[in-house]
Every structure is written in structure tokens, then in C-alpha cells.
């Protein structure tokens, strides 16, 4: 895991495996406070208290194919090493909310990585899931809603359109990034 986009894919994959039909992905960057919040909200199967307690344990997994589960512990490590935190709330049958907070004035803060690339793959491979992605930097924000794309008749099944959507996300994010404070280590 060398960037935050990888973590995004990893955590969202957990939501998909929990049978979520609606997944919200939010990045909230604040220049004055030098923080970045990364949130994933889903309506999947959720976890009971026992699973929730064991979630941060790398040797806990619900899988039978292997005996370790490193996704969440890795995310916890990457946010805590910047002075941030990881918070998980979950209710069985309702869904899960996960929030990772990063301090962007800490040099250990990971780069964002190819968010646009991962996001388009998620949209393309999971056409039946409603994704809502937002990136917020102070007053600026960018939203991508998979239902909105459908309404506009945009078909990700065309490989050509896939790269257009990727470019659309990338350009809009780059526009936002221009307002990033110079003391931030995010890139």
C-alpha cells in the first residue's frame, strides 16, 4: 500500500464483499487544520460488536482461504503514523461507516495516488452498485455519482468512455488540488 487510492480500493472491496448496494466514498481536505478525512459509508451487512472489536487485529479475518486480514490494520497504521486516527462504526444489517483521519502536515502522510483510475475500475466492474464519490477541499468540491452517469447515458462498458471518465475525474481533481496549502505533504 503505497498510496491512499490503494487503500480506497481495499476498503471499498470490503463493502462490496459485505453485499453493499450503495457506497459513499468521501475525501475531505482542510487546509487550515491540515487534515484529510477519508470516509467510506455502505449499506452492507455490517458487523456485530464482537467482529468490530477484532477488526484491528491483523490475525482476524472472516475468510477461510487465509488466516490474516491486513486491510484495516494497514489503514490504521498509515493514518496513525501521521498523527491521525481510524474510526469504525457498524451495525449488523444496516451497514458500516469507516473514517480515517490523516494529518497532511506530517511527512509520513501517503500520497493520494491514482484515485481516478481506481474509481473508474470500481464503477466499471460493479455496475449494479450505486457509488457516490466526493472530494472536498475547503469550499471546493467535486462529486461523481454513478446514477447521475447512468442518467446521462454514459456507458462505461465502452473502453473509450472509461478513459474519458478517468480523464474527467482526473481533471476535476487537479483543479481542486491547486488550492492546496503549500505546507501540505499530500500530492
Amino acid at each position: 500500500m503505497i498510496d491512499l487510492a490503494m487503500h480506497m480500493m481495499d476498503i471499498v472491496q470490503n463493502s462490496i464483499r459485505a453485499g453493499a448496494k450503495k457506497i459513499g466514498i468521501d475525501f475531505i481536505e482542510n487546509n487550515d487544520e491540515a487534515t484529510l478525512l477519508f470516509r467510506v459509508t455502505d449499506d452492507g451487512s455490517g458487523m456485530n460488536e464482537e467482529s468490530l472489536e477484532k477488526l484491528h487485529d491483523p490475525f482476524y479475518t472472516t475468510r477461510t482461504t487465509r488466516r490474516v486480514g491486513l486491510g484495516v490494520p494497514f489503514l490504521k497504521m498509515t493514518c496513525e503514523q501521521t498523527g491521525g486516527y481510524l474510526k469504525v462504526q457498524s451495525e449488523e444489517g444496516k451497514g458500516t461507516f469507516i473514517e480515517a483521519a490523516f494529518r497532511t502536515d506530517n511527512p509520513d502522510c501517503l500520497p493520494l495516488g491514482d484515485i481516478a483510475g481506481y474509481l473508474t475500475l470500481l464503477l466499471r466492474a460493479n455496475a449494479d452498485i450505486h457509488f457516490r464519490f466526493t472530494y472536498n477541499l475547503d469550499e471546493l468540491d467535486f462529486t461523481l455519482d454513478s446514477e447521475e452517469l447512468n442518467e446521462q447515458g454514459i456507458e462505461l462498458q465502452h473502453a473509450e468512455m472509461l478513459s474519458m471518465v478517468k480523464q474527467f475525474i482526473r481533471e476535476n481533481l487537479q483543479l481542486l488540488y491547486r488550492d492546496r496549502s503549500p505546507v501540505s505533504y499530500l500530492c
Partner: protein, 132 residues
């Protein structure tokens, strides 16, 4: 620095879609997914960390370029973390085959030899073979 950007709004995106639609006469996609080639890329922590994204992007783009009707999806870890990125390919009417240590170069070989011609290539993880 002054890169010409074309796609800033949803309206731009919609325009592009119309252009694409006008240019390409849609290939008739087979109705049932059973008659399509299915490619599943393992996208769990282990896969992501080993570069599964590049492999998945390669499959999506190349299968389309080479006019092969296929469904490319992501799946969780199949338990072969030592051989990530792993890809499961199911040809119509055949048993799924799992390939390990796939990079774009290997993916090219899989498309050309296995998907197109049905020839097995190196790197198969014996998952569900039956003894005779």
C-alpha cells in the same frame, strides 16, 4: 503547463459519449454471460499491493481493442497471496483457470494464447484439477 482540457463537466462527458456512440456500431453482445469470456482479477489487500490495478486496466483495454467479448470484474482474495496478482479466466463452457504472478506482459500472453486459442500457458495455479 497549459494542457488543453476537454472534459470538465458532465455535459462534456455526455457529448463524448454521443461521439463514441455515433462512431462505433455496437457489437452485438451475447445475451447470457455464460457465453462470454469471464476475467476476474483478485483485488484484495494482497492483490492491490502487487499491482492488480495495472493488470485489470490492461485486460479491460486490451480485450476491447482486440474485439473479444468479455466481462472483466474484480473479486476478493482467492487465497493465493504468494502469487498475486492472480486472475481467474473462465472460457465459455470450461472450468475456471487461475493464473498467478500476472503482469501486463503475462496478461498479453493469456489473451493471445489462452483466451483466443485455448492453449494453456505457464503460471497456472492448480486449484481444481481432477486426477484421472
Amino acid at each position: 503547463m497549459n494542457q488543453i482540457s476537454e472534459i470538465k463537466t458532465l455535459a462534456d462527458l455526455k457529448k463524448k459519449q454521443e461521439e463514441v456512440r455515433a462512431r462505433i456500431t455496437l457489437r452485438d453482445r451475447a445475451e447470457s454471460p455464460d457465453s462470454l469470456v469471464q476475467v476476474k482479477v483478485a483485488m484484495a489487500t494482497c492483490g492491490i499491493a502487487s499491482g492488480a490495478k495495472e493488470v485489470m486496466e490492461y485486460f479491460v483495454e486490451e480485450l476491447d481493442k482486440r474485439c473479444i467479448d468479455a466481462v472483466v470484474t474484480q473479486t476478493g482474495c482467492m487465497g493465493y497471496c504468494f502469487a498475486e496478482p492472480t486472475v481467474e479466466v473462465t472460457l465459455p463452457g470450461k472450468e475456471p483457470v487461475v493464473f498467478g504472478n500476472v503482469d501486463p506482459e503475462k496478461a498479453d500472453e493469456i489473451i493471445e494464447c489462452y483466451i483466443k486459442d485455448g492453449e494453456l500457458v505457464d503460471g497456472i495455479i492448480p486449484q481444481n484439477y481432477n486426477t484421472i
